[in-house]
Subunit: 231 residues, 2 copies
């Protein structure tokens, strides 16, 4: 049995760090909280430190710089993707599920996709596991090695770009989003027909289909193209 600390002895700002001492794990998880609610731009060394009741300088004992912190966050996010065992009869659906899930978890952490495009190759353990899964699914499907290697690259690029687009309007209220959409629509409707004849004539089709349909369309193009590589 321990006697409780009197409230006037608790320094509010230090409470958390007094109970839970700093650690890499704590830092990254605190940063992820910030990411989910406020987006990547809000994940600054200073704001993360503030949440932990300390100063930004303290984080540098665990992390070399902000980019490294962002990369650690990314791998934890990628860790939310669960990977299946290859089922050759189902390779298309397996790849589709993996890519869709990847877009989903990236978009759920607004801005983190930027980190993917900044990093040369997936080096975190979770990113490696996803890459391993994609490679083995495509290989089990009977595609030539070269197509497998290139396809994994292209599919990852595609998923990342889609996630970036999805989180582009993060931070706007629903009203702001609606206003933006109607502004864009008005703008396009006002374009001169003689300079942009095809665009103007296609306006109804161009505004058709939400993100899902467009993304699925693109993914199917890629997968159809890939299937054609089967010997």
């Amino acid at each position: 049995m321990s006697i409780p600390v009197p409230p006037w002895q608790q320094r509010a700002a230090r409470e958390r760090s007094a109970r839970r001492p700093l650690s890499l794990d704590l830092i990254v998880r605190t940063a992820l909280e910030l990411l989910e609610t406020d987006g990547l731009d809000a994940v600054s060394m200073r704001k993360v430190a503030q949440r932990l009741g300390t100063g930004a300088a303290s984080l540098y004992a665990y992390v070399n710089n902000k980019d490294e912190l962002h990369e650690l966050m990314l791998d934890l996010v990628i860790g939310e993707i669960s990977v299946p065992d290859p089922d050759p009869a189902n390779w298309r659906q397996q790849i589709k599920d993996l890519i869709n899930r990847q877009v989903e978890v990236l978009a759920a952490h607004p801005g983190i996709a930027r980190v993917v495009l900044r990093t040369p190759a997936p080096t975190g353990p979770n990113a490696l596991a996803v890459t391993e899964a994609m490679l083995s699914i495509l290989r089990a499907a009977g595609l030539p090695d070269r197509a497998v290697a290139f396809a994994v690259d292209i599919l990852a690029l595609f998923a990342t770009a889609a996630a970036m687009e999805l989180s582009a309007d993060f931070g706007l209220t629903d009203e702001q989003r609606d206003e933006r959409i109607s502004q864009v629509e008005q703008y396009f409707a006002s374009l001169p027909e003689d300079r942009f004849p095809t665009l103007v004539s296609m306006l109804p089709v161009l505004s058709q289909g939400d993100y899902r349909e467009r993304f699925d369309f693109g993914l199917d193009l890629l997968l159809n193209g890939l299937a054609a590589w089967k010997p």
Copy 2:
């Protein structure tokens, strides 16, 4: 005939702005100089203003905020893409050329591709011209309208993501780049075979092929997929 200004009357920092007064055009072109040499992160309101011999506050008479300046820059960059008249027999090559050129000009202005992913739709006059061209080429090729509309979206996304990847290592010296590559290679060579069997066994293939081959592979997947939509 005008008498030259004596050197001691020229205030160096103000020289440019004294001769050429501020204008939106001058601001955007100055920003583009900075972009080409130093990358998007260096294009700050303060640095652009400094180049013009003034303070950041002065730019706000011509531009609402930094994002708007970045968008104006983007459209000038897109303007470097020249658009062809549709040639139905050659639609595949025309699209390939357009997309390759787009990646080229975006990558030549390191970081500007980020602005594309941030903007909801292409609204600048030059971006509209490129969109009009892509739409008309695909339509003239005989693709259904819906496929045309979706394809333009997907192709633009693909080109933008590729350009982002290409400018990812901007700012590094050749030595730093080489060191990074060899570090990544060493890391991958050290991975445990039991956890990443496919990855490890495919290492030689994975490091095969440069950016061009991978990008062409992906573009061909998309175009093959598209061609299949022809009725």
